[in-house]
Symmetry: C2
Subunit: 286 residues, 2 copies
């Protein structure tokens, strides 16, 4: 595995791989890698002969009150993990070079980015769309892999790719969970032992709602309300529990194929998000 921090060698190496007829796969990450990320790397490997992973904690997607400075950074461990996965190229840009002082371009994806996380984290998806647009220009992958844990991010990137005609195929990896069901996340490291024990109630609650939907409960409002009560009883401070269409991210009243139940909730200082499909989408959809 070769590691680079500048665009110029990145492009040279990707260009060489492309000249050899290799498909380029790309997994953008913020590092502090866990099994969820590694599952995305394996998906990229299945789709592409040359796999690029970026590790970049993108300041644009954090608001001033958020955890940018304390977000976990584990450069050496990440490198070891990616090397073991047979990643070809690790791209770790320097923040100062990535965003020059007078950087002034923003990419906004309307609609899908407005509710859910977008409503609670103003500017977050602008930061996501901007960094993804820029990374896509730098790497020019044939296929890029994102995780369904960040459901709204998937919707935003999908819309970005469609609207601006990025010639990139998107592959979406399923959420990887701990044994007790907690969705893997770099932010789980913030949890105290006691919080960690209770954290699994988030996914338990969402899966319970999925079970009820499978048994015929189609009232989205009822599933949201009951999940809220359950999570508050478990000690979570709720940001939201919302049933949405996973493609448009619009709230739904009736559970239908493609409806997801999404939630954001805090345990102490740690904000967790998770989602499950209440009814799987029918028809082709990655």
């Amino acid at each position: 595995m070769i590691a680079v921090s500048e665009v110029s060698p990145l492009r040279d190496l990707v260009g060489q791989a492309r000249a050899q007829g290799k498909r380029i796969g790309f997994v953008p990450t913020m590092g502090a890698l866990h099994e969820g990320h590694l599952s995305l790397v394996r998906l990229a490997r299945r789709e592409a002969a040359y796999v690029v992973v970026s590790v970049f904690v993108n300041p644009l997607q954090f608001s001033p009150s958020e955890d940018f400075t304390r977000y976990p950074r584990r450069a050496a461990a990440d490198k070891t993990l990616l090397s073991r996965e047979g990643v070809d190229l690790l791209y770790v840009p320097e923040p100062a070079g990535f965003y020059p002082a007078d950087f002034s371009t923003a990419v906004d994806v309307g609609g899908v980015s407005e509710g859910g996380e977008g409503a609670r984290r103003p500017g977050h998806f602008r930061g996501v769309a901007t960094v993804v647009a820029k990374l896509f220009q730098q790497v020019r992958p044939d296929v890029a892999v994102f995780g369904r844990k960040d459901l709204q991010q998937v919707a935003v990137v999908r819309r970005l790719v469609r609207d601006l005609d990025f010639p990139v195929s998107l592959v979406i990896g399923e959420t990887v969970r701990e044994k007790d069901g907690l969705a893997m996340s770099s932010r789980n490291a913030y949890l105290s032992r006691e919080e960690r024990r209770r954290a699994a109630d988030l996914s338990r609650t969402l899966f319970a709602a999925r079970g009820r939907a499978a048994h015929g409960e189609k009232d989205a409002h009822k599933l949201e309300e009951d999940s809220r009560k359950q999570l508050e009883a478990s000690g979570f401070a709720l940001d939201y529990v919302e049933a949405v269409d996973a493609e448009t991210m619009r709230r739904v009243e009736t559970v239908a194929p493609g409806t997801a139940l999404t939630a954001a909730a805090r345990l102490g200082k740690t904000r967790l998000i998770d989602n499950v499909m209440l009814l799987d989408a029918t028809g082709p959809r990655t």
Copy 2:
């Protein structure tokens, strides 16, 4: 010359040219072509073995009160002109296919887009940046050519390309003028015979200011003020006359290398823009 209206054959043809080792040159236009556009096509031809020209009157860059519907459209004449210039590929997207009904992505370039035209035409440069980002994804040119007549557009596109790392070289073509100095523009067709006669005073005024700058007048405010008076005396309704740095588009107080004098003024219903360099930039700059 092959003409296409869809992205898929566009990409196939550009891909074939690229596979033959040809550099791809691109000139985005809104049609109603004149010698100014054709000079850009010739620049593209000098830089690239395969030249793509798009003709697309981009609705996003017009406000509801502007001239989108009456903007001149001359598809047949444009095609003849481009064919004579040896253009390889003409791309004329259908508006409905180019922007699907739920298109919701916007690209904003801050700073350079805020004064001048940006202040008088809210949303204009967002529309420009969005269509350029999308066309660049569709065509993926190695080199793209823009005209200096739209000075602020050049600054916006240059910043967009730098900020998002589009691997595109920009080439800027000088403004082509009629014999009496009027900058060529598709909108000149709106002018009555009497307005057309007076229109040349716009460039005369700007060139007079350039002459004074060359002879030592460095007070930008004085050059602006005197130009304003002269244009008003000639019967123009002024939007602005502003001395700016041509790269940052910031107003300047003192004329320096890279300072341009920019103006927007109306004759009857027709809005004309023009600019001249008061002092040419020193050092490398395209």
